[in-house]
């Protein structure tokens, strides 16, 4: 074995331009996907927590995309996002918008992935729906008596009551978003990184280094750096959580 010291870490920051690209792409994806999916899941859960006829069907429909398995979904979306014949651009055409080239335009590849991610927000919705079942209806009735607006009820009752799951969701989806890999691998012809390397995410770059170039040392160094970054973010989240997460059970934090 050839001991190289910190050489691998040094070359990440000094020699490897693609490393910087992959880090940028990943941070871009994290910054947009985490707030969008969290807010989307909460809004959806609030809507699906109403007493409305056929709610069982609605819930099933919205959960459906989360049931579908990975690779099949990515292949399906590659067809849907096809610039000329895809369903997405066809529908945009109905309302007079010329859709972008999605997976072929470096500026639109990441939004395309975000769109696909939003489609399956039903998985996160289920978590919020589960915790909303524990909020007692009496709290809302009491608020109604006081003449609270729907927004006030959401802000002062629902949000604090579901905060343990918001906390969970933000932490786990941050971790998940940093590890985005499969979609980029499948949707860019076996990990080429897409047009202008716009879908070269951190883990994809790591994968290519490990199993294409067979530079295991460099890939391992990358794995450790990512571990460190996400660990720090998770710890910060855990610390901040103590300020805003409300647990009904008492002062167990």
């Amino acid at each position: 074995m050839n001991f190289v010291g910190l050489e691998n870490y040094k070359s990440m920051f000094t020699m490897d331009d693609l490393f910087r690209t992959s880090l940028f792409n990943t941070v871009y994806y994290v910054v947009f996907s985490v707030p969008l999916t969290t807010a989307g899941a909460i809004i959806l859960a609030v809507l699906l927590n109403q007493k409305i006829k056929g709610m069982k069907f609605f819930r099933t429909i919205y959960y459906l995309p989360a049931v579908l398995s990975g690779v099949a979904v990515y292949l399906l979306w590659m067809q849907l996002l096809s610039p000329s014949t895809g369903l997405v651009n066809t529908m945009l055409g109905w309302i007079g918008i010329t859709g972008p080239a999605w997976l072929f335009d470096p500026d639109w590849t990441k939004p395309a992935l975000l769109l696909m991610k939003m489609w399956s927000v039903g998985g996160g919705m289920l978590l919020y729906l589960a915790i909303m079942q524990g909020v007692s209806p009496q709290m809302y009735e009491a608020a109604d008596m006081e003449g609270a607006s729907p927004w006030q009820k959401f802000y002062y009752i629902t949000l604090p009551m579901i905060s343990p799951i918001i906390f969970f969701d933000v932490i786990t989806s941050t971790i998940g978003a940093f590890q985005i890999f499969q979609e980029a691998y499948v949707m860019t012809e076996n990990g080429s990184g897409g047009p202008g390397n716009s879908l070269l995410f951190y883990n994809l770059h790591m994968w290519n280094n490990a199993f294409e170039v067979f530079n295991m040392g460099y890939a391992s160094a990358m794995a450790w750096l990512l571990f460190l970054i996400v660990m720090i973010l998770t710890s910060v989240n855990m610390k901040l959580g103590k300020r805003w997460v409300h647990y009904e059970g008492g002062n167990d934090k």
Binding site: R59, L129, Q133, V135, Q138, F181, F227
Partner: protein
């Protein structure tokens, strides 16, 4: 005009509720369409003939409905056997996942012990390593144990806890009032009894969520069976699906027909599990009110 008058019809609660009801229904229907359109693509392809699939531009509705695609796809391989295998793996895995993760979560949420927080961070840190990094060492471990070409590598990990579910259930259990436990302790209940008799019933919606996610995950798992199972008689549905993706030509009509078929059991499961979702809610709100 008198200052005290009956509220106008549009100010009554009944009217406002009706407006809200209509609005929410409308939004949900519109959203459902957007969700279902991509799925329609799947169903529509599954009913087309190979010639029509190859057509350009693609047709939105199949010209002829080839329902036979479903039967033919099922008959190309021992799919009945594979379906039973998958059902077995997913069911056993789900039971293990619900029991073990809820027990561990109970420990982290309600038992005070030294080093609890560092240990919890350690559990979380297992989520920070990408799957493909641990894939190779894990395979070597299972192969040294002689578990290759058995179901053990697919089943045993389900009984060893997952950080995601432990964290999730911990969040729910932190919301259960301590007073309930204290009363049980006074009655002489141990931790296992508190977990079984108090925590499990009160976290029903969360447990059902974990069950749905676990079942779903095991049902859709491709990599696990692909790595560890060699005997064709032990294959799962997801491996079966791959057989339609040929090296020369993908049989899209069969692939889509089978994908829809594989999807159905999970959808039914979700649809019927919802009943318990709501039942669980009555229990927990009853104790909190």
């Amino acid at each position: 005009m008198s200052s005290v008058s009956a509220p106008k019809f549009y100010e009554t609660k009944k009217f406002k509720d009706k407006v809200k009801y209509t609005f929410v229904t409308f939004v949900l229907i519109a959203g459902s369409m957007l969700i279902l359109l991509p799925l329609w693509w799947m169903i529509s392809t599954s009913l087309k003939s190979p010639a029509e699939i190859a057509q350009y531009p693609p047709t939105f509705f199949p010209k002829e409905f080839h329902f036979n695609n479903y039967i033919e796809a099922w008959q190309t391989a021992p799919f009945t056997r594979w379906a039973l295998n998958t059902l077995f793996l997913a069911s056993v895995g789900t039971i293990g996942s619900v029991l073990v993760n809820s027990l561990v979560a109970y420990g982290f949420a309600k038992i005070h012990f030294k080093g609890r927080n560092p240990l919890f961070i350690l559990v979380l840190s297992t989520m920070l390593i990408p799957g493909f990094v641990t894939m190779v060492p894990q395979y070597i471990l299972f192969s040294k144990l002689g578990w290759v070409n058995t179901y053990l590598p697919l089943l045993v990990p389900a009984f060893l806890g997952s950080a995601f579910f432990i964290f999730l259930l911990r969040q729910f259990m932190l919301g259960i009032p301590n007073e309930l436990m204290e009363a049980a302790v006074l009655d002489g209940a141990g931790h296992l009894q508190i977990w079984w008799h108090i925590m499990l019933p009160l976290t029903k919606p969360a447990l059902i969520t974990v069950a749905i996610f676990s079942f779903n995950g095991a049902w859709n798992d491709l990599l696990g069976p692909l790595l560890y199972i060699n005997d064709e008689s032990m294959y799962t549905l997801q491996i079966g699906l791959q057989t339609f993706k040929g090296t020369v030509q993908t049989q899209w009509h069969y692939l889509m027909a089978m994908s829809v078929t594989v999807l159905l059991p999970v959808i039914f499961l979700f649809f019927f599990f919802q009943k318990y979702f709501i039942e669980g809610s009555n229990l927990s709100s009853g104790t909190k009110g």
